[in-house]
Amino acid sequence: MALKVGVQPGKEAFAILQPVLDWFEQSGETVELVTVAEPWEALEQKKLSSLW
């Protein structure tokens, strides 16, 4: 199952996430990026694996 990772809205976040995405690719983990308007709430409610 893919890890569901929330990112703050904004293209910049995607840009600086590239090394992280590379890490997941190399380690065999799959990750689904989700842009969320209220990321902290989603993390609190366990709707996200992590918030970047």
Binding site: K11, A13, F14, I16, V20, L48, L51, W52
Partner: protein
């Protein structure tokens, strides 16, 4: 980049990891290569993502119409294609990631366009109690960048709320020393105030306080405009 919110930062402190810092430089992207800040032939509409860059463009390039993009999810390429703007100011790292390097018409001078706080850093929260969380922390976490981020975050909390959208600065850690260059653009006075401090201790809060105090002293010495 995570927006400043001390309450939530404290709840999730320390972060799972703070990444290596990406490029700090801003660039201009446009379909038309003649869209450059020093080209006075046109009154260009340049999209910007921060109030800081909006104020800096107004201050230094009177012939430019900065357009603050309030919807951060907007696709820069689609916006350029729509002809609503002539060009956009974006971080170099974003442009590289989006494969837009061919559209770069100008690379910004970091002295004219200093980096917003936290520029180029990626932080992760949550997942610290998982195997993948431990693995990625071991692989990605940069202690020096975490200290730098702590310094920049603290600086943001030491200045008046009204100035926070206009702050800039970058902290760096070398050995057991921290240095930070930073300041703010005062949109009312149309002035940029900046200075640098360094301490030979790994105390980011102290470094941020020194910077805020020094800036305040400089501003007071200048007096009202």
């Amino acid at each position: 980049m995570v927006k400043a919110n001390s309450h939530l930062y404290e709840r999730y402190a320390p972060p799972l990891f703070v990444s290596r810092r990406a490029s700090l430089r801003e660039v201009i992207v446009a379909k038309d290569k003649s869209v450059q800040l020093e080209n006075f032939a046109g009154r260009w509409k340049i999209g910007v993502l921060t109030s800081l860059h909006e104020a800096l463009l107004k201050r230094y390039f009177g012939h430019i119409d900065p357009v603050l993009i309030k919807d951060p999810i907007v696709d820069p390429l689609a916006l350029l294609a729509s002809d609503q703007i002539d060009g956009m100011m974006l971080p170099q790292a974003t442009v590289d990631r989006l494969g837009m390097s061919a559209y770069v018409t100008q690379r910004g001078n970091p002295h004219t366009f200093p980096p917003a706080l936290g520029r180029g850093l990626s932080l992760a929260f949550g997942g610290e109690d998982t195997l993948w969380g431990t693995q990625i922390r071991n692989a990605m976490h940069r202690r020096t960048e975490e200290i730098a981020w702590a310094c920049e975050k603290q600086f943001a909390q030491l200045v008046p709320q009204t100035l926070r959208p206009y702050l800039f600065g970058v902290a760096s850690v070398i050995g057991d020393s921290i240095s930070m260059r930073g300041g703010w653009m005062n949109p009312d006075k149309q002035e940029m105030l900046q200075t640098e401090v360094s301490i030979s201790e790994l105390k980011p809060q102290m470094c941020a306080q020194m910077l805020a105090d020094k800036l305040q002293s400089i501003e007071q010495a200048q007096g009202p405009v």
